[in-house]
Assembly symmetry: C2
Homo-oligomer: 343 residues x 2
Amino acid sequence: MPELRKDPIIDRWVIIAVERGRRPHDFVVESEPPSGAFCPFCPGNESKTPPEIAQWGRPANEPPNTPGWNVRVVPNKFPALTHEGALDRQGLGMFDQMNGIGAHEVVIESPRHDWDFASATPEETRDILGAYVARVAALREDERFVYTLVFRNIGTVAGASLAHPHSQIISVPIIPGQVKEHLDAARAYYMQKTRCVFCDVLRQELSMHDRVVEEDEHFVVLSPFAARFPFQLQIYPRRHSHDFTLMTPPEIEALGRTLSRSLHRIRETLGNPAYNMMVQSAPHEHSRPGHPEYWGTLPQDYHWHIDILPRLTKIAGFEWGTGFYINPISPESATEYLREATV
Amino acid sequence: MPELRKDPIIDRWVIIAVERGRRPHDFVVESEPPSGAFCPFCPGNESKTPPEIAQWGRPANEPPNTPGWNVRVVPNKFPALTHEGALDRQGLGMFDQMNGIGAHEVVIESPRHDWDFASATPEETRDILGAYVARVAALREDERFVYTLVFRNIGTVAGASLAHPHSQIISVPIIPGQVKEHLDAARAYYMQKTRCVFCDVLRQELSMHDRVVEEDEHFVVLSPFAARFPFQLQIYPRRHSHDFTLMTPPEIEALGRTLSRSLHRIRETLGNPAYNMMVQSAPHEHSRPGHPEYWGTLPQDYHWHIDILPRLTKIAGFEWGTGFYINPISPESATEYLREATV
């Protein structure tokens, strides 16, 4: 059973996800899965994943866990957290721990092993983003979970262990410290100014226009002012909203287009770099006063967005020791290069 | 000129260290420097580094920047921050920036290219730790800097760009947000209990003894309770002290032994993994009330220590999105493996 442990000094939890029998030298192996190797996510191999939770594309009268799907959601076979059980918080002297209850799902984004989000069709992105929205909405019904993250790891350097394109969804029973820090800062700004800090950033970026890679009616793509990573991008909805599951169908369509174009710009400009993508959205709203993880959602003060981090630089001692990152290219030059890419 | 920029949402600065003419595809190249390639840190090549700041081993009557040294300190040839100039803080609409003033030095740890800290002699570690102490003490005299970090990156995955063993020292004009978070938490604990939280953790770890890898009269080596990385180690001095430059000569000798043994345990247990090592010590004490980065050092509440992070796992979307890490081995098993290593 995985375990959550809290750092005794600061508000930071860690998942201790012990895989049985893993010995020290198993950690050092670190190789790209060979192309042509067996892929559990390819159609025909549905029995090699845990039974599917949802799918898009296969007619409802056909049996589950068979080919015919366009997008398929399954539990992670090696989950970081366990779905079964009640939360159990414990002290251990001055330390705090909790059993590792949570959800860990995989969104298989296409039946095609060599599919790429950067050249996706509108129908494909609609189904994938639809899967994100549907699964996050469903996971929120579980009162044990208070925060859910949707993310994609592309490339070994970015932590992908399988090459077949997929996203992951993790629900956790606490609001992570780093998320709280952003929520608290946005709340404090809102309380002082009665304006959303993200809306203010967006307004300033649109008027300066030095870091705006592209924009349309619904979304703005920025290379953020204090980017920690070279060519880092953020995608913000123009319409203030704290929760990405509240997107309208035209917004979902527009986001698919924008996301695919942004990933295409990165591919064009940088070759095929590894990257991480995260959907940053508000915590679950069912966490109420009295709940140990109560945060008290104010829909006005948080603004959901997507972060894309190309993994071009190494995280080294200085960054680990201080949290202070060194970015070797200015967001303004990164923006110029990314704007020039043909999409 | 490098630039410091503050995240508009949270208290987090970034160094934008633009290297002129670096184009997008230059970022993607990522290879181990070939063994046998020219090494600017090897004896005989002293003219290939900026002129030395200090050295240990060469008689004082011999010319500087010539062979004969055991440890040599030089400015970083590609510094993340510039040493020359006055601090200049500016606003840019709602954004905050500052010119990138700081120090960035390199401690070349041995004339031997294939030298390894894990098998160092007591004389070698004494000179290296002596260099750390001397340089940090000197950098503190500069009133522009308020925080200094000593760190080592070993292996390409951990961010090392040269294989010749070296450490780095960076001084910055702000107290980084992550450092402040630890200082604040330690201060709050001290104010409530009139005890150092690190001393309390140490006491509990020594009495439980599940995560103590080794201990002697002066130092204790732990795999921390909420380790974010597999086989992460922390070295704490038993004697409460907020500042590692206040070590006594016997403590410096003991630390050299302990550090070298710990790195040896990691090498024995895991092969030759990449790792980062950081010396976490209190901010400079000259930062006084009225100084914009005043923190107000209380020597009682912070406890310096060393962190060693073997780089065996990838940082992926979940970690970036939440700050919540997944560690696939419990610190208790890591401790058992590391204890068994022959040293």
